[in-house]
Symmetry: C2
Subunit: 173 residues, 2 copies
């Protein structure tokens, strides 16, 4: 068992502005949270990091980790942030959006705006941090995390996740 | 809920020879089993396939899936079978074994045999199916699965797994 020297010095009052600044601080503690759905038909594994072992064991952090795992199971994100989306995938989505807008008879001068809007919507759908939180669609997962960071007083980072469905790999192998 | 038309026609008596033949049959049911260790410091996700939903729900299959997840947590395999090991990795291991054997003053004529033996031992260590079962080191995981296949009467396949340790990705990102 690790011995624990650092005390929790965060403050709940400074709120979201401070929370956003914390994004620069190192986060290498935390936990690997698991979630299984439908008797093992869907499995989710997600690593959530925080700064200290103390917070990693705290109930609020563990609850947040569980909520994020649930979100991944329900929302099927492909990426954590929009930065991870390959350029080719975004270009492909833009092509589809452009073709659809033309089919709908939109005038050429508004096409770029429409395409941009649809690509942004696509990012909202496939990026975990941009998805609306399944229990409260008025906030994104990013906002949910920042709210918790404000209360926890430590930086919290979703490091990586995997979401598997039973049999989806059968075709590949 | 899926309705279940197929009956279990396997026989326990035919034993391991039949079990080995079953390896050809399709296995697309099953479950994704999860296992977490050390309060979330290690996480394992493994997909185990069988042929029918009936077996996927059976206690023996579920127990086997759990044992395999435990094995992955404890044994830290890198691959399922030796076929998956990249040639470069095996060559690298062979180089190390050759250099070590020379340092130990082994005569040149026995070097190939020694190198081969050490590479095989390496495969036993890093391949899940070749690892000795943590609860009974006299059998490998492959043997454990075949014993269960003989009793279950269906092909059972470890399709894929992931084993994560907390913080191991921090250096990469």
């Amino acid at each position: 068992m690790e011995i624990f020297k650092r005390r929790w010095t965060g403050s709940r009052e400074k709120g979201m502005a401070t929370a956003a600044k914390r994004a620069d601080r190192a986060a290498s503690n935390g936990m690997i949270e698991l979630y299984s759905h439908g008797g093992g038909r869907v499995g989710v594994m997600v690593e959530i990091n925080c700064e200290t072992d103390f917070v990693a064991r705290a109930e609020q952090f563990r609850t947040l980790a569980h909520e994020i795992a649930l979100q991944i199971a329900a929302g099927s994100p492909k990426y954590i942030t929009a930065d991870e989306i390959p350029a080719a995938e975004l270009e492909h989505e833009a092509e589809i959006a452009r073709a659809r807008a033309k089919e709908e008879g939109k005038p050429d001068n508004v096409l770029p705006k429409i395409v941009e809007g649809r690509v942004e919507k696509y990012k909202d759908e496939i990026c975990l941090l941009r998805q609306p939180y399944i229990r409260d669609e008025s906030i994104t997962i990013e906002k949910l995390i920042l709210q918790n960071v404000a209360a926890i007083g430590e930086n919290v980072v979703v490091r990586r996740f995997q979401r598997w469905e039973l049999g989806e790999s059968a075709a590949q192998s």
